[in-house]
């Protein structure tokens, strides 16, 4: 019993210690952001590796999710004779939930893990220490550009995911299953609200982007500087981002759509 209590205490302490370290780290990164104004090139280079290189995964996944939504949605709606609402169903599912959430999970797997591994390996091979000894602050030169690139990329990737997903739903619903094309688009147009649906979806993706980028750069910077440490940090990035995104999604959904 005592041993169990001891383990619980020590685990709780280490969790809170890491949370504290993560928050202090975030404050230091935020303080480093103004330095990027003078060097936009650093962010642009990271936008390419974090955002552009994730596009293919996002597009293919979005298309598949949209196609599945179209198929499953049609099968359910057709029983009630309301298959014309397929456009609304596909668009709302993607814009409100699947776009931000699935894009964030994919982002964590593709870009977040890469960011953690890159920063962790830079630490393990003393590149970050070397930078500090050259009087260059790694937070400004390495961490801040990657953090900002993550925050900018996420909403754009989520928007791309939703847009391609709608097209996937259209191909299956209209192209294969014979739903009326005009009804598909007009239902979507009349039922999807710019503020209630699209803006809330964008807010979600911005929040998820901040959290995913923060976790990725923190785990890399905080990694134990050896092979095993970097491997564990990379795994933690994916797992923690998934938990954080799913947990935050519930809270944000309750706040945004709870009173409908």
């Amino acid at each position: 019993m005592m041993g169990w209590l001891q383990r619980l205490g020590s685990t709780s302490l280490s969790v809170f210690e890491r949370l504290g370290r993560g928050n202090l780290f975030l404050l230091r990164v935020l303080a480093a952001l103004p330095s990027l104004v003078a060097r936009p090139g650093l962010v642009i280079a990271q936008l390419y590796s974090v955002g552009v290189l994730s596009m293919m995964l996002i597009v293919i996944s979005g298309l598949n999710v949209g196609m599945v939504l179209g198929l499953q949605g049609y099968n359910t709606l057709v029983d009630f004779g309301s298959e014309e609402s397929l456009g609304q169903l596909v668009a709302l599912s993607l814009v409100r939930e699947l776009g931000p959430v699935v894009a964030a999970l994919l982002f964590a797997g593709r870009a977040g893990s890469a960011l953690t591994a890159e920063i962790g390996l830079m630490k393990a091979t003393e590149q970050l220490s070397g930078m500090e000894m050259m009087a260059v602050d790694p937070l400004k030169r390495v961490i801040a550009p990657r953090f900002v690139a993550g925050i900018i990329s996420m909403p754009l990737l989520a928007a791309m995911f939703s847009a391609v997903g709608v097209l996937g739903g259209f191909f299956v619903g209209v192209g294969l299953l014979g739903v009326d094309s005009g009804a598909f688009w007009s239902q979507m147009q009349s039922k999807v609200d710019l503020y209630d649906d699209i803006l809330n979806g964008v807010i979600k993706s911005v929040v998820f982007g901040c959290v995913a980028a923060w976790i990725a750069v923190f785990e890399g910077y905080d990694a134990v500087p050896n092979t095993e440490g970097v491997s564990r940090a990379t795994t933690r990035t994916v797992v923690h981002t998934a938990f954080a995104v799913l947990g935050l999604d519930f809270i944000l959904t309750a706040l945004m759509f709870g009173d409908e």
């Binding site: 220490s129 070397g130 500090e132 000894m133 260059v136």
Partner: protein, 271 residues
């Protein structure tokens, strides 16, 4: 370049204490690094030699004592002042710590691009001059993964002299290198020290190489300075420990055997 050109030591360490958790690494260490000379810090593996360099560079904070570099206490000055001081000193890491995504040229250009606004043509000439000094001007377009260990250290050395520092610290520069590379690195350390008017600190346990190039030696073990002086002084030291280390004797004040119960008793105990 150095602010003070007098006979004051460039690095003055007084009463240095440092511990990693419960393990005490330094327990009241005093060290003076003279200007313009090559000083070596020797000691057995795990004795905290690399830690000492990080303490001098202000990357670690001592639990007590002071580290004064060129008149500035690295633990009392602001972060900005510490970064300004670091522009005047370089640390050559054991691994080289080159940026793996940048070419040799860009690695050497890195500190110049970060700290100066030089036109590209002047920056190119400067980088080529630094690479010429280490004999790797022809390797400018290679990536670190394409370099041998010795070449990587030479590139790191070219990067270390990019901002014309007053002092270079070398962390185990000879470890794992073939004899030719060791000779090249030794020659470069001596040549750069003398021609650029630098101060060099070498942390290593390669006694033979160090006695050949250094002007002054410090020997540390168990958190204390065991002895210091010229290589000749050290070779004829009265300390048995220093003599054992310098000659590489397997037994002496540092025993061959790990502490154990009496041998005969131990064998008979199983009978």
């Amino acid at each position: 370049m150095s602010k003070n050109n007098n006979d004051e030591p460039i690095v003055k360490i007084r009463g240095l204490r440092f511990a990693h958790g419960a393990r005490v690494i330094f327990d009241g260490v005093d060290i003076d690094i003279p200007r313009g000379k090559i000083t070596s810090i020797m000691g057995p593996s795990g004795t905290g030699k690399t830690t000492l360099l990080k303490l001098i560079g202000g990357q670690l904070q001592p639990t007590a004592g002071s580290v004064v570099v060129d008149g500035e206490d690295v633990n009392k000055i602001s972060r900005d002042a510490l970064f300004r001081l670091r522009k005047r000193m370089s640390l050559l890491f054991q691994t080289g710590a080159l940026f793996t995504d940048l070419t040799v040229f860009e690695n050497v250009a890195f500190p110049l691009r970060e700290h100066t606004r030089l036109p590209e043509s002047i920056l190119r000439d400067l980088v080529l001059m630094k690479l010429q000094a280490v004999g790797l001007r022809g390797a400018r377009d290679l990536l670190p993964a394409e370099l041998s260990g010795g070449m990587a250290r030479r590139v790191a050395l070219a990067r270390a002299i990019a901002l014309d520092p007053m002092m270079i610290m070398y962390d185990e520069p000879f470890t794992g290198q073939d004899p030719i590379t060791v000779g090249v690195i030794m020659q470069l350390i001596r040549m750069l020290n003398d021609t650029l008017g630098l101060t060099s600190i070498i942390v290593s346990h390669d006694v033979h190489e160090l006695t050949m190039i250094c002007d002054h030696m410090y020997m540390i073990s168990g958190g204390k300075v065991m002895g210091h002086g010229t290589p000749d002084d050290m070779a004829h030291s009265e300390s048995g420990w220093v003599r054992q280390f310098m000659a590489g004797l397997p037994d002496g004040p540092v025993p061959f055997h790990y502490p154990a119960p009496d041998y005969a008793d131990d064998l008979l105990a199983g009978a």
